[in-house]
């Protein structure tokens, strides 16, 4: 049987004596979208950081296409963080920010990288005419799009979106999702999405994993979790989300 794109097995992580991840296991296939949901502090971002290689596990393993990657950063995995202002180099122009992963990977000529960064900006809904602006000259939502353009420019195998949609309005969000879908189709990019926007998660992810206290307390197809989740935390999350829907 073929290896999944991503395999997380029995992952444990402890910070300052506190167990943050307690035996997390899941698989993600090529081109698939899975969502991690849960309240703040449930361990979602720690899972993301461990997969991206920014943290190492205390025990357990993470495999990308069958190879162990825990504790190692690879361009094949792109993590988009929830604070775009803090994640983007303030000294770089938009063009340099988007092209930087290509420079690191020593891909193409300077001219090709510039054209590629303009193309990615356009596809992410940004005006290439703004390519000389620096990160802090963009609005919060535009910085998010810049971070997404940068991540996809590298054609990653796995894209992790950690609350990357939180600054985006609905029009830009659907455009961004379409852009990521393109990358999934073209390159088989797998996508792990961490989001509090449960409406988007339900529509877009095939599988939803509910994290609570560092454990996966429920998992299943998005529609089933949304309509008939059994764990109290799952119900609480979806009820709060429903109460924020427009009463119209």
């Amino acid at each position: 049987m073929a290896e999944p794109l991503l395999r997380v097995r029995d992952a444990y992580k402890r910070f300052d004596g506190r167990e943050v991840l307690r035996g997390i296991s899941f698989d993600l296939e090529c081109g698939a979208v899975a969502a991690l949901v849960g309240i703040s502090g449930s361990g979602k971002s720690t899972v993301a950081r461990c997969i991206a290689g920014f943290e190492s596990l205390d025990s357990g393993e993470i495999l990308l296409n069958g190879s162990r990657i825990a504790g190692r950063v690879t361009p094949a995995i792109q993590l988009i963080l929830q604070q775009p202002a803090a994640a983007l180099n303030p000294r770089f122009t938009a063009e340099e920010i988007v092209a930087e992963p290509l420079v690191i990977q020593k891909r193409g000529t300077a001219r090709w990288r510039r054209e590629r960064s303009h193309e990615m900006m356009q596809r992410a809904g940004l005006n290439p005419a703004d390519s000389r602006k620096r990160a802090l000259e963009f609005s919060g939502g535009e910085r998010q799009r810049l971070a997404i353009a940068r991540a996809l420019a590298a054609e990653p195998k796995l894209l992790i979106l950690d609350e990357s949609f939180s600054g985006l309005d609905s029009g830009v969000l659907s455009r961004t999702l379409a852009l990521i879908d393109e990358s999934r189709r073209e390159h088989g990019t797998g996508c792990l999405i961490i989001s509090h926007d449960l409406a988007t998660v339900s529509q877009w992810a095939a599988e939803v994993l509910v994290l609570d206290g560092g454990e996966i307390v429920e998992r299943g197809p998005a529609a089933q979790i949304a309509a008939a989740g059994r764990h109290p935390r799952t119900r609480e999350l979806w009820e709060a989300s429903a109460s924020l829907a427009l009463p119209l």
Binding site: V172, A240, L248
Partner: protein, 259 residues
């Protein structure tokens, strides 16, 4: 870092932005005619200098916030919501050219601002207890640190008081900023995307906290959000922005049904 701007003593002299702010004196406000809005923005235009050329960011913006009201500012990312909020607070950098009028009648009370990114707004090397105390000292405010944290919905546990901002959850950081913002009992709090990155349970809690502060402290707020649902839950009035202009205003139900 000071986050409050006394419109009665500050002439908006930061930078060279030629904002003409029409302010009434404190004395004048005694016996102020009822029905005057707390904040009134009239024909506000903002241009930004890009390589020597001015590009329009806000065009002829008019909006008001009444005493004891929560007003919502709704719109797509990049439409100018944050620029409008910064212009109201007089915080735009010199590269912006501002015209029009911003009139704030706080009756001696001030305006406080909660910035979009709490990790950038909080001092990373000060413990929570110390940085809330700093704001109390700066404004000779009457509350204690635990009182303010409780008002912001945070139990003042030893862990919280001794924590640095990076050790808190996103929801806790927002509430620390809120505790600082209400320390001097401002007449108006401007909150820029305070719900971003909070889980739905925390969003509902924070929105309900804003509503209870409005009821209990008479706090007025201008809340910026691109989330229609949360504004529908709490805002008395919503202003919808698009490409630097207010395109619609009215009750949350009227404005937000169009998405």
């Amino acid at each position: 870092m000071r986050r409050e701007f006394d419109f009665f003593t500050d002439s908006h002299g930061r930078g060279s932005a030629p904002l003409r702010v029409k302010m009434r004196s404190r004395a004048y406000n005694v016996g102020m005619p009822s029905g005057e809005p707390l904040l009134s923005v009239q024909n506000l235009c903002v241009d930004v200098d890009v390589d020597g050329r001015f590009r329009p960011v806000l065009h002829d913006v008019c909006c008001t916030v009444d005493e004891g009201q929560i007003a919502g500012l709704f719109g797509d990312s990049g439409c100018g919501k944050t620029t409008l909020a910064l212009a109201i607070a007089g915080l735009l950098s010199p590269q912006y050219r501002v015209r029009g009028s911003v009139r704030f009648q706080g009756g001696g009370r001030r305006l406080a601002f909660i910035f979009q990114d709490p990790l950038l707004a909080l001092n990373p090397v000060l413990r929570v207890g110390d940085q809330v105390a700093e704001v109390i000292r700066a404004h000779s405010a009457g509350d204690s640190v635990p009182d303010l944290l409780r008002l912001a919905g945070l139990p003042p546990t030893p862990r919280l008081l001794r924590a640095y901002p990076h050790q808190l959850s996103g929801g806790e950081r927002q509430r620390v900023l809120l505790a600082q913002a209400i320390a001097a009992r401002p007449a108006l709090v401007i909150a820029d995307e305070p719900f971003t990155a909070l889980d739905p349970i925390r969003v509902v809690e924070l929105a309900d906290l804003f509503l209870s502060l409005k009821r209990e402290l008479g706090l007025s707020m201008l809340v910026i959000s691109h989330s229609a649902g949360v504004l529908a839950r709490m805002a008395d009035r919503v202003f919808a922005m698009q490409a630097g202009q207010i395109v619609e205003s009215g009750s949350a139900r009227e404005v937000l049904r169009h998405g």
